[in-house]
Amino acid sequence: MGNVLVWAIWLLAATACLGSGLAVVTFRNPFFSALALIGNLGSLAVLFLLASAEFLAAAQVLVYAGAVMVMFLFVIAYLGDRTPGAFTGGGPSWVSIGAVVAAAALLVEIVVVIGLAAGDRLTDAAEVERSFGSPAEIGRLFLTDHLLAFEITSIVLLIAAVGGVVLGTRSRAEDEEEAARARA
């Protein structure tokens, strides 16, 4: 009984994941694309839970869906109607064909080749305790085995924050240009 439930949830989440992914790529309006991505992130969180990564699922919802996507939506709102919606029309056609081909090739490759090479090793999951993906476990590892990764990640975030500020400040020249444009 429990297994069937898990399967059902998995299938539902997987479908939602793929569907929202396609939606992100195909919608014209970037606002809708961003919303679709939020859905994608949510379904992924469910999948994480099914794979015993509880803390990561929570982090996904909090950080990704919560912070990052909100930032996206802010920018989209700011840009307003300056965002173009056009698809590939107008650009070189060989790029679109090549793109589709490349994506398909990658897909086939990953599935087929890796499946062929390592297929039988990918089916038996190891036995884990209930506290496998708990925050305590992750936190302990971050402060002991993977301390370096932890520290470096924080530095990267710092740099990104600085970069964001730098990119975001307006210079005096831009201010004057903006004013002139507004008067015109």
């Binding site: 790029v95 090549g98 793109a99 090739a105 990658l106 490759e109 080749v113």
Partner: protein, 634 residues
Amino acid sequence: MIAGAWICLAAPLAGALLITLAGTSISRRTAAWISTLSVFTAFGGAVASFVGLLGREREEREAVTTAWTWLGTQNFDVGLSLLVDPLSVTMMLIVSGVGGLIVLYSVGYMDGDPEERRYFAYMALFVFSMLLLVQSANFLLLLVGWGLVGLASYLLIGFWHERPEAVAAAKKAFVMNVFGDATMALAFFAIIWQTGTLDFQAAFEGADGMSQTLVNLVALGLLGGAVAKSAQIPLHTWLPDAMEGPTPVSALIHAATMVTAGVYLIVRAHPIFELAPSISDLAAGLGAVTLLAAGLIALVQTDIKRVIAYSTMSQIGYMFLGAGLGAYGNGMFHLMTHAFFKALLFMAAGLVIHHLAGEQDIRKMSGVRHAMPRTFAAFLVGSLALVGIPPLSGFFSKDSILASAIASGGYGQLLFAAGLLGALLTGLYTFRLLFVVFLGPPSELVKAHQQGHGHGEGPWTMTLPVAVLAVLAVVGGWIQIAGVWHPFGEWLDPIAVGREHLALVEPTVMQDYVTSALAVGLGLLGIWAAWAFYGASRRRVVPRAALVRETLEHKLWFDELYDAIFFRPAVLLTRALRRSVEEPLIGGSIEGVSLGARNAGGAVGEAQTGYLRSYALAIAAGVAILVVVFVSVQ
């Protein structure tokens, strides 16, 4: 004695280096005196070596001193070795002594020339090179000196490089000399191959084991170098052109020293030449031909220096004649006396040229005797010595060669006849020059320059050397009087390898006297003929018969011949090569490479589209390929 030899060699080199490195920070005068003093220091070193050698027993008069091994391989090595023996010391004394006097003369002659320092550096370089040549103890070092004197000659002939004739003459001299260098190098290869060494002693001993053809080839190669350096027929055409250089250069290089290097080589390598009698006969024959041809050509020359140049060529012909016959001592004796009176003649001519502000055409000169009486006296002394009138030096030296000729059998008698005819010609052209230039009423040019000079016939730096050489030209021959005393010949005897005496032929006393009488008689006949043609009535300076005149004026058509044989085919070949090989193949390939690189770069540059998406596509494609690679290559 050894120290003397090293000082002799090093002093002029030091002088040259000093002048070069000091550049313009020393005055021109200072450079001139540095050069002069360095050459006189060399003379001092030579005298020291001479005295040291005198103090030894006759058999022990040979010393080889090696500074270090210059070239060392497993079974062949060459050292920086100097040889001090009678022959080399004789040459050292002549080169540094006469050279010193000439450099002193240059101090006055070249005064005022803007590039004086370069001149004196070159002169010191030349003296060093010539000393290296005569002092070397092995063939390789001799070749080094040989090449260096060729270089110094080139630099000094072309000294006034703004004159295209001078530049052309320098090139001509150098190229012809290089031909001689090449034949000599081939001879040296043969010597190394057969004997494994280039040291004189060892090479001569090893030469005994050579086959006749090989030793003939070696001797021929050496003769080629000697003929080129000494301007004998057929490699003589560079010497008259070399008169483009300043007069002291002509005196030093092209009269007293460099052109005698060929004679020195033959005497030094005499064991090889003795093993190749046909080549020795060839050398003597070339000498005879040259002395006649040069004498004839000198009769129609109108440039005062060219007459003396052809005279030099002719006299060296005498030396080759003597050396080829085996009369080495006599050949060297004539070399020494010739250095004296030929340098004297050049320098006296230089005084005349200097007085007449650079004019060298004898048709414009006459009656210089009144303006320059002492120069006239010097020129007269030199001319008498050249013709061989007793008791001046040329008489003793030249006649000894002729006597050796008649003592050498049938071929020798032929050469003897040539030599006698040459004596006649010598008298004729020498006194033609003297009478035309100095006698008669003063010409327009001479009168114009009469007022200009207040300081006599030249500064003391020019007149003193002339005076010294005039004295030497008179007494220099008294060191060997045929049949009476032979100190010079005995001095040179020790260099005979494996024999008692150096000279291969010893004329009898009767032959000596008859020869001398004939030679002097013919010389006087020549002088009388000159007086008849050119002296009293001042008839035509150049003979009237057209064909004769044309041929002689074109120097027996040698220049035209070489032009047709060598120059024109070479030009045609280079033009053809340029058209068919260089432009299409080499130029084309270089252009092709560069064009190809540019095209390839352009093609690759097409990938830089600027499209973000095409870059992303490229990345995606690359990843796809890499995945396959990583997975398949386990």
